[in-house]
Amino acid sequence: MRQTGAIALNTFKETIRDRVLAVIVLFALLMIVASLWLGSISLGEEGRVMKDFGLVAVTFFGLVVAAFIAAGLIHKEVEKRTVFVLFSKPVSRAAFIAGKFLGLAVTLAVVVAGMGLFLFVVVWVIDGAPTWMVLAAVALIYVQLLVVVAVTIFFSTLGSAILASVLGICVFIAGQLSTNVLELTRLGQNALTEALSWVVFVLIPNLTAVDVKPAVVGEQTADWGAIGLWCGYLVAYVVVVLALATAVFRRREF
């Protein structure tokens, strides 16, 4: 536990100092500010446009941070050969993977919370009243991004950093379409295709289940009980993926 904590703290310090991170956050804030201009041409729907585009900006830039920084976490250690020093000490592979994940999770929390609070304040100023759903939506975006971090770490134990980033982003996109895969399983006329669709459906994380963006603009009512359960499912998904990443990482010789 102490090992994991130390690695997590070190990862947090390392990633939070990354200049790329600062540039991405700056871009995200600029995007949110740019939504103000879009709002001004929306015929009186400034608040709605701001919430919608602002949340997309938080998602998109959060995804960039999650996928690209997570992909480099393990590769940097290997390239700089620090991993050899680390594993010469009594540090388990599981502690290493868990520490890397937790460290980036904290960094991501800081980044997403910063962007989310900025959006919340801007929306408050425009609407003249606080929209608490914006904060709830940002928290749930964070949960989705944790899945991307875990999946990207898993892929980074298998292949190159770039490939891991791309696959992490692909899983995020696939996670938005998991209900379509379910439809495919129902439409299946061939037993093999149907079975394959089921496997894909089970493997892909259902990220839409915790998405409340439509609820933020009043398009639907959020079912918090169901969302809570789906968050539990995503946390379990993260644990499974990290366990797989550890299993793969154990097979590597350092």
Binding site: I41, L43, G44, E45, V49, N180, K213, P214, V217, E219
Partner: protein, 249 residues
């Protein structure tokens, strides 16, 4: 040494030339005639299937594009080939988007699609039973474009539905009564246009002003007297603004 200096000079000349080309292009660009393109409007089902989490964001993006599309065409060729598809896309992806129904209905009127505009408002009120403005505007469209023998009753029913919504202003029920009661057609039309003016966006307010201007007497004093009959259908400040804009002050 001379060779190095020449190379540097050449480099500077190339850089300056490139900068000149960029600036010249940017400066002359606005002067080029702007082509009005036909926006790509896929089926709403496509977005509902492939991006359920981002459906409202896509609706907003198309909402902004619809406003631009309408604004461009209303100023130029008055052709609105893609307007209905765009409005359908926005309201299908975001069925609670009240303003899209209101704006869409009046934009469809400009495209000569009165029945579609009326249907859109009806669909909007079904999706948003607490949006009284959708019902009042459906009543206005029915009164303006409906069949002569039923339009008053149907329009009044729309106003009664609107008045039944919690939070609807009191004057909505007054309009319903006025439609069913005695009085000239000019009075009824004036009341309906006043409602559009009091609750609409900038485009529908412009239409309401034009509509009232056409039916009101031209003499300022008589015009003011006629306008007094709609004073109780809107807020005092809105009424003063209306009087000023119609030159009846």
């Amino acid at each position: 040494m001379t060779g190095r200096l020449a190379r540097r000079l050449a480099l500077v000349v190339v850089c300056l030339a490139c900068a000149g080309i960029v600036v010249a292009y940017q400066v002359t660009r606005p002067a080029e005639e702007r082509r009005i393109g036909q926006p790509f409007v896929p089926s709403p089902q496509f977005f509902l299937d492939f991006s359920p989490s981002f459906r409202t964001t896509i609706a907003d993006a198309y909402w902004l594009q619809t406003i631009q599309y309408y604004g461009e065409h209303v100023r130029t060729d008055q052709r609105y080939d893609r307007l209905k598809a765009m409005i359908d896309l926005v309201t299908t992806l975001s069925p609670k988007f009240e303003r899209a129904y209101l704006f869409g209905a009046y934009a469809l009127l400009d495209a000569g699609l009165a029945q579609e505009a009326y249907d859109l408002l009806g669909r909007g009120f079904e999706e948003n039973p607490d949006a009284w403005k959708l019902a009042t505007n459906a009543g206005i469209l029915m009164y303006s474009y409906g069949a002569e023998d039923v339009k008053r009753e149907v329009a009044a029913k729309w106003f009664e539905k609107a008045a039944a919504v919690e939070g609807a202003p009191l004057y909505v029920s007054r309009i319903a009564a006025r439609l069913l009661g005695e009085g000239g057609e000019v009075d009824k039309a004036l009341a309906l246009w006043a409602e559009v003016y009091a609750t609409g966006d900038k485009y529908s307010r412009a239409k309401a002003l034009a509509g009232m201007d056409a039916i009101l007497p031209k003499d300022p004093a008589t015009r003011r007297a006629a306008l007094e009959r709609v004073r109780d259908l809107m807020a005092p400040r809105t009424f003063s603004e209306l009087v000023r804009k119609l030159g009846a002050g």
